[in-house]
Symmetry: C2
Subunit: 493 residues, 2 copies
Amino acid sequence: MAVELQHLTKRSENYSQWYNDLVLKADLAEQSAVRGCMVIKPYGYAIWEKMQHQLDKMFKETGVQNAYFPLLIPKSFLSREAEHVEGFAKECAVVTHHRLMNDPNGGGVVVDPEARLEEELIIRPTSETIIWNTYKNWITSYRDLPILVNQWANVMRWEMRTRLFLRTAEFLWQEGHCAHATAEESEARTVEMINLYADFAEKYMAMPVIKGVKTANERFAGAVNTYTIEAMMQDGKALQSGTSHNLGQNFAKAFDVTFVNKDNKPEYVWANSWGVSTRLMGALIMTHSDDNGLVLPPNLAPIQVVIVPIYKNEEQRNAVTEKVHPIVNALRAKGISVKYDDADNRRPGFKFADYELKGVPVRLAIGARDLENGTVEVMRRDTLQKEIDQLDTIVDRIPALLEEIQENIFQKALKQREEMTVKVDTWEEFTQAIEKGGFILAPWDGTTETEERIKELTKATIRCIPLGQPDEPGVDMLTGKPSPRRVLFARSY
Amino acid sequence: MAVELQHLTKRSENYSQWYNDLVLKADLAEQSAVRGCMVIKPYGYAIWEKMQHQLDKMFKETGVQNAYFPLLIPKSFLSREAEHVEGFAKECAVVTHHRLMNDPNGGGVVVDPEARLEEELIIRPTSETIIWNTYKNWITSYRDLPILVNQWANVMRWEMRTRLFLRTAEFLWQEGHCAHATAEESEARTVEMINLYADFAEKYMAMPVIKGVKTANERFAGAVNTYTIEAMMQDGKALQSGTSHNLGQNFAKAFDVTFVNKDNKPEYVWANSWGVSTRLMGALIMTHSDDNGLVLPPNLAPIQVVIVPIYKNEEQRNAVTEKVHPIVNALRAKGISVKYDDADNRRPGFKFADYELKGVPVRLAIGARDLENGTVEVMRRDTLQKEIDQLDTIVDRIPALLEEIQENIFQKALKQREEMTVKVDTWEEFTQAIEKGGFILAPWDGTTETEERIKELTKATIRCIPLGQPDEPGVDMLTGKPSPRRVLFARSY
């Protein structure tokens, strides 16, 4: 279906509606016939693929290998780890039968009541249980460790309220599951992966993030400690963008996975797991895009440069095409993804608007006049500014321009975050700040009770206890009890 | 767990056991705790990834884009296309509930009877139905066509008898789903994709295949025509390795997907679908491997060259390492995947056997004597032959050697297939030939009745009506009725 370049809701009018409009109109994803499950359309999937390829490369550089574990998990596995069952064994898709049959009353196909499974199977909401049940057979001695394995997979959580990319019943993700011989090594890997995610977010997504530790209350179910990266969206809300969990020996104990250590003694294996998902697509969209549409960082844009010819007749079109051809080849030789759009059934103005909507970082327009003058019009998507460049140096200009754009949108997002981050010390300041939106660094007495009371009163949660923050003794805003350092509060997605 | 280099069952003793042993001992895959579902281990997955990357590149070169559609399909969708429902709506995983709860009697978690779905959902056995239901909203005019979309996904068919890679309840695959404005264009794409699969099989897997058309009886459920590539395994059985289906307008009619054609008239859209799966892993293993283990084609080997140092002391090891370092770098600069295995906890003999088992195409061994002589021992996995080469030219030798191995294993497989393919004209010849194993080209009267009778009597099926075979009038072996040309019979996986 041809893209309909209708009015996109403005962010200032209705941020949430702007997001939904944009996801649909930029052809990124749409709702499917199955409640809460999305279809990721080719353009959206191309961005996700770019994320995958980069992350996969970064994982492998740290020694991680990919593998694949079953989609279905025996129901009993979920109950093995006491906290995990509370977190994951509730809203999930349950397979109870393995056969359909023709309805004896002629009503199409029905479930065959004879084909009931002895034990129900759950579509994985996450794979710790099935993987640790597998690792049991892979690990005997410290020589078998570490195991550094990742899988790219679909998972399912029966969410009640869903939003494209941000919260869907089925989503795509990667989940790394490492097994180590020592607590220290496992903790080091847990931290290594949150650092990797932060690097990816900042260098590829151009999205500044705050690294920190989750409070006990917000921890992954079954983890000893959860690290997170938190990004700020343009409406000031936080979006948890990646997590890395130190699982201690919890899953090893639940699945009885021991190894003989260097001292020849049996010991439970140390574990961590870490993941990012198609939620990153939502984060990417909401960090940079504007009222004209998507703004993509050049490092993740499926099309980095689009070239649109301007012509009045076939002869002019051919002249432009002839001139553009070597430019396209030279840019591709530099590893730049270029599209030359000389389609005859859409006017240039329509193409311009469409590529703006799709967030293509650089647009070149070349007409008959340009050929005479040896010039080209260059528009950068991030600032929407145009410049006239020389045709014979444009190939050298583009890589630098893409870098400039990448850096500019990062700095812009960083500036916004800094402007929307405040330190407060009193409850009055806090309640005012939270209504304005943004991140709030405030003291906290360290109790779940206070954390939950703040959430009830303001809908703000503790996003994390930021890493590398200096100790800063203070008093809790609500209870007056001592607070060792500030923590990061925000409303969140 | 350290690889145990136990005895691998010989192919001549028990081919089926040899295959199972090999899959487990080469660390490719294993059974999981969920009936019929496998765990693909890192080494096996690395081979599958190489297949994926190459296929994905080839698909994209023909204009295909990736996308992602839901895992779950509403039960009613499967019934829409009359033949499709017969083929796919029977043995499948059925999701009936969306919540678990704590057992009020304290027995862990149980299915919450209140959380029954209004309509059951099926884990996709293939995605034609959900995809055509989606395409309905994407297609209005001939300008929206063609749609050339592929997805990499997991699918599930509740198979009764499973074997690792060859037939598993859950498997990984890609499924392409194209929509076209004309029957001719759709047929051309269907053929293009079976040709692409054949190219991939022959050039990358080094596996010769026969391209052909399936009989009506063996067609995909819902297809007008199914193209297949059939490979011969070392035991003479056929393995269907990839299929491409011309679906005519069947799914467009079932899901009411019409477009306005160039004559401004509404018309049903023309469809095709095509796929290969992790079954190719089974094909790859069974085509080339021997009683020592895997034999991998260099084009798909995760490790193409392994270098093993031979040393008596630390000083010798360091001397070898120093010499090997620039060789490793030079090979990597040529895009060759190299592993230098100087691990101290395994003897060279153990390493040699392990890399043979794993099918690494080329093994270099370098000892103190070699350093003195400027030599290196080169073993090629396909022939197990050793040669002594000069250290200072080995970097130039390797790419040619890898090509030789790639070509040699293809030719070896081709020769075997040719030796095990016979033409027969009488029933007596046929029944003798089928007991020997291999491919049989024989006349057939074109009826499903005869085809099924032959299958009952001999377990042989018509693998395909080969493309490009000359017409060769004859008479059916069983019925004596006229046969326009020979068809390909074999027993199969």
